[in-house]
């Protein structure tokens, strides 16, 4: 039995090696080594052999090309190539306009495509940077029955899942919080912290670079005074000093020992997390069944599919929910989602659309370059015909045309790479704008190679097209009478029109998409949020618990704070709120309404729970619909009261007044509170959606907490108040940190940033498409007019009015434009339907958008037709007739 290497690679090797000697030696050596390896496994040996061949090809192919060239080429061929190349460069200099347009078109087409493809590949298609990342999935709860799309589980739910489910190797919980950190000689600073179950790092399959990860007992109450640092935080705060391990750090008012440092680039759940601390399973946490705040990520056992795990999850959920001992009052159905999908989220579709838009720009660019090349080479039809007649071979002409086009296409491709790098640089600097995994984005070589090959292929093909055309007959035709009457000429004209027409149609699609996104953005940023946009400033406060141990302390702190702030001149109203609108989102919590039975499916009502002081509704300008807002009478000992939002009232007291209704946060130890007021809904978490499950407001004096934000309404522009606010807070207690101070207008601008970005990006693409198609349109029409110079001259000599001539040319052009607009509008309709998911209060058919886009393109088309027409009608008949 003899093992012989894979035949195809071996053949390739024989072909590519430059000379007999190295060929015979190397082929023999590889045969010999292959036999050694095949004894242990043929497949592996085959791979090894193929890789060896690939490496050899890379080493020898250039040399092979050279020797081949040397053998076949006669000296004059090289001289000719040099001359043609020189001609190409000269052409570039003599007609810089043409070359620039071609190169710029190629550069833009290549650039935006490579950039879009790179972003898509890095963000959406590449696996997450964890080992066996396809086995990672998140567990979420569907809260459809509670009028809320979905949410994370609570800690007790997480523990149930962790103990009951068998499909998982690990199941970890995590939550992102912002906290204050003080370490050694450093000042207190805000840091991004993740509170995680001790097995999170194990679940993700990432080991600390230095030190250790958390141990299981570190989530026991009282234990777990430890912290793990991110690589970036360790570098910036500890100068990458290994002795940072073992040092103390105060995070969220708790002294912790640094036990580990994660490797560079690791950041979970977000790339900006600086410190990880273990989740403490305190009695309060274990009882907080209704507090849905902890996300759960798990690693499936090898070989277990997501659908297997989901089936098990459903079975366990049913069993647990049916257990009478287990009072799952607010059980929500759980479901799984691959971690990659969770991380990338909505961005995936947006990025595919982006790639679609970039692809359209590339199509326009290719059509444009093709059209330009075609026009140029036809321009030289006669010259080429003469040269053919004088005996130049077809190959010779082809080479000449190719080499002439070569310099400008190469410049275009290089500039395209530069444009791509520039675009990615911009994407990188915009990274915080909700683009997940932005730090992983790099130029994608596959995309780059493909795009460059496509564009250069098109450019070259159309550059050499005339030499691929008809043979002798064409020469005779061209020399005999120009190409005015030949049927090839008509085919070519039709083809040119097809190119330009499709360019224009694509421009319609791009412009309409951009218009829709722009309209959607404008509507979003002008939506009525339910609170005032102007004159309101919000600031989050960080109060150290240790200084205010009792509930009454929190109440009096905020009372004195608000009193001071209200005394500042220029301040109309001030109030405290648990979470200011458009700051960190609040998830829903379970509530209980007195006298209402729990529904059969076990899902109780939920609401966003807010805690507000008197003055909050006035400061934010939230409309009162019924009853009253909080006042100083709603004290600790007084009757418990509550205010509900309009949608909460409508949902639970349909057709009647909510006033007098009694409800509480889902906790049997709390008293029911009486609804004393109904206020308008506010866009609390997002601008594009109301929290449709409603909001429950409790008075601060009856539900004291230190986690409050300040809201202030001023008589004039509030920006000047920022420093005053800080001073007033410091005057009450200098240990209270003020952060995230911003006006509501700023908050709105921040939350609409990604919509604005998408709209502007699309608009950029669209304008690019418009510019390119305008160039194409003008180029083709101008060329047509030049072709018809003699005909027009004759007509004018015979007495035709210049106006009629002009009209006929414009009519011809506008027929083309109108047809393409019609086709483009149909394409735009499809694009609009695809886009609808991203639009806010905007449909696929927006008359304004269509009106503006079609109007713009008609104007551009008219201009592109009229300019050549004017030139044509001013032709001097004598010169036109003598032009041949």
């Amino acid at each position: 039995m003899s093992a012989s290497p894979p035949r195809l690679p071996r053949q390739l090797l024989l072909w590519v090696l430059p000379d007999r000697r190295s060929r015979d030696g190397l082929v023999g050596d590889l045969d010999e080594l292959y036999r050694d390896r095949a004894a242990y496994g043929r497949v592996a040996a085959g791979w090894w052999y193929s890789l060896q061949v690939l490496a050899a090809v890379l080493h020898f192919a250039p040399r092979r090309a050279l020797t081949w060239g040397r053998r076949t080429a006669r000296a004059e061929m090289w001289t000719a190539i040099g001359k043609d190349l020189g001609l190409g460069v000269r052409l570039l200099r003599r007609r810089p306009g043409f070359a620039t347009v071609v190169a710029a078109t190629l550069a833009l087409g290549i650039g935006v495509n490579v950039a879009a493809f790179s972003v898509l590949r890095s963000v959406v298609l590449r696996p997450l940077p964890f080992p066996d990342a396809d086995r990672l999935a998140v567990l979420r709860l569907s809260m459809d029955n509670a009028g809320y799309a979905e949410g994370p589980p609570s800690i007790p739910e997480y523990l149930t899942f962790r103990d009951e489910l068998r499909s998982w190797q690990h199941l970890a919980a995590y939550r992102r919080v912002d906290a204050t950190a003080t370490g050694g000689e450093q000042h207190a600073e805000r840091v991004s912290v993740a509170v995680v179950s001790p097995n999170l790092f194990q679940t993700l399959g990432v080991q600390p670079l230095h030190g250790r990860a958390f141990t299981a007992d570190e989530s026991q109450p009282g234990a777990g005074a430890v912290a793990v640092l991110s690589h970036a935080y360790w570098q910036s705060r500890y100068g990458a000093d290994p002795s940072a391990l073992g040092r103390d750090l105060i995070v969220a008012e708790r002294a912790r020992t640094i036990v580990g440092v994660m490797p560079a680039g690791f950041g979970f759940p977000d790339s900006d997390i600086e410190i990880w601390v273990p989740l403490g399973l305190t009695p309060q946490a274990l009882a907080a069944r209704g507090v849905h705040q902890y996300d759960v990520v798990g690693r499936l056992l090898p070989g277990v599919s997501l659908s297997d795990a989901e089936a098990e999850l459903a079975a366990v959920t049913r069993r647990v929910a049916a257990d009478p001992l287990f009072n799952f009052h607010d059980w929500h159905p759980a479901f799984l989602r691959p971690l990659r999908v969770q991380v990338v989220g909505d961005m995936s579709r947006a990025l595919w659309l982006l790639l679609g838009a970039a692809g359209l720009v590339l199509a326009v660019a290719c059509a444009n370059v093709a059209g330009l090349m075609l026009v140029r080479s036809e321009d030289r039809g006669e010259e080429l015909a003469i040269r053919t007649a004088l005996g130049a071979g077809r190959g010779r002409l082809r080479r000449q045309l190719f080499l002439e086009a070569f310099p400008m296409t190469v410049i275009g491709a290089l500039a395209g790479v530069a444009v791509a790098l520039g675009c990615l640089e911009i994407v990188g600097s915009l990274a915080p704008l909700e683009l997940p995994r932005a730090e992983e984005v790099s130029v994608d070589m596959v995309g780059l190679t493909l795009t460059v090959i496509i564009t250069l292929g098109v450019a070259t093909l159309f550059a050499v097209l005339p030499s691929l055309g008809p043979g002798e007959a064409g020469v005779h035709g061209t020399l005999g009478q120009g190409e005015r009457h030949s049927s090839t000429a008509r085919t070519r004209t039709r083809f040119r029109h097809l190119l330009v027409g499709s360019e224009t149609a694509v421009a319609v699609v791009l412009l309409v998409s951009a218009g829709l996104l722009l309209q959607s953005y404008l509507r979003l940023s002008n939506v009525d949020p339910g609170y005032s946009r102007a004159q309101v400033i919000t600031a989050a406060l960080d109060v150290p618990d240790s200084r205010y141990p009792e509930a009454e302390d929190a109440v009096s702190l905020f009372q004195s704070l608000l009193e001071r702030v209200r005394a500042v001149p220029g301040i109309q109203a001030a109030g405290g709120i648990r979470r200011a609108p458009l700051s960190t989102p609040i998830g829903p919590s379970s509530i209980e309404i007195e006298g209402r039975a729990v529904s059969a499916d076990g899902a109780g009502p939920v609401a966003v729970i807010q805690v507000a002081t008197p003055g909050y509704f006035e400061a934010l300008g939230i409309r009162e619909l019924e009853g009253r807002t909080f006042d100083a009478g709603d004290r600790g000992g007084a009757v418990p009261v509550a205010i509900v939002s309009e949608s909460l009232a409508r949902r639970h007291w349909p057709g009647q007044s909510a006033l007098g209704g009694r409800l509480r946060v889902d906790d049997p130890d709390l008293p029911f509170a009486e609804v004393v007021g109904v206020v308008a809904d506010v866009r609390q978490n997002r601008l594009d959606r109301l929290p449709d499950q409603g909001t429950l407001y409790l008075p601060h004096a009856q539900s004291p907490t230190l986690a409050m934000a300040l809201t202030v309404r001023s008589t004039a522009d509030p920006t000047g108040l920022v420093s005053v606010l800080r001073e007033e807070v410091a005057a009450v207690d200098p240990s209270v940190a003020v952060h995230d101070v911003r006006t509501i207008a700023q908050a709105i601008s921040d939350t609409t940033a990604s919509a604005r970005f998408a709209a502007l990006l699309q608009l950029g693409f669209a304008l690019l498409g418009l510019l390119l198609s305008a160039i194409g349109l003008y180029g083709v029409l101008a060329f047509t007019v030049t072709r018809r110079t003699r005909e027009i001259g004759i007509r004018i000599a015979l007495g035709a009015e210049p106006l009629d001539v002009r009209r006929s040319i414009v009519r011809q052009g506008m027929t083309l434009v109108a047809t393409s607009l019609l086709v483009g509008s149909m394409g735009a309709l499809i694009a609009g339907v695809l886009l609808e998911r991203f639009l806010f209060g905007t449909t696929a058919v927006e008359p304004i958008t269509y009106g503006v886009v079609l109007g713009t393109l008609l104007t551009v088309g008219l201009l592109a037709c009229w300019m050549p027409a004017r030139r044509a009608s001013s032709i001097d008949p004598m010169r036109a007739l003598g032009s041949d």
Binding site: S4, R21, S22, D24, G25, L26, V27, G28, D29, L30, D31, E32, L33, R35, L51, Q52, V53, A55, A56, V57, L58, H59, F60
Partner: protein, 109 residues
């Protein structure tokens, strides 16, 4: 100092291995190089390097009779020339000077 042909890292490995084997052929060189450097060696790279070394005059090579277990292909045996030996000696000398007295730095590595 006379100008000498510079030895690249891989050239250096190949030349030194050729010297060790005295009269070795391709597959032998590859085995020896992989064993000693712990790296995967590409046959194409080896042959390109052998060609380059030969053109610099550092090795000579001869083809032996074709062998059936090698698909009927001959072996290319290489031998280090006097000039190659000098280049190796210079290279070794330079390396030793560069690393002189630095052994202690690697104790922890």
């Amino acid at each position: 100092m006379p100008e000498r042909a510079f030895l690249g890292e891989f050239e250096h490995f190949v030349l030194a291995t050729a010297l060790r084997l005295e009269r070795g052929y391709g597959a032998e060189l590859m085995r020896e190089l992989e064993e000693r450097t712990g790296r995967r060696v590409q046959g194409g790279a080896l042959y390109a390097t052998l060609d380059r070394l030969e053109s610099k005059g550092f090795i000579t090579s001869e083809m032996a009779a074709p062998a059936p277990e090698r698909g009927g292909r001959p072996k290319r045996f290489v031998r280090v020339t006097a000039e190659g030996l000098r280049a190796l000696a210079d290279h070794r000398e330079a390396l030793l000077r560069v690393w002189d007295g630095m052994e202690a730095r690697f104790e922890d590595a």
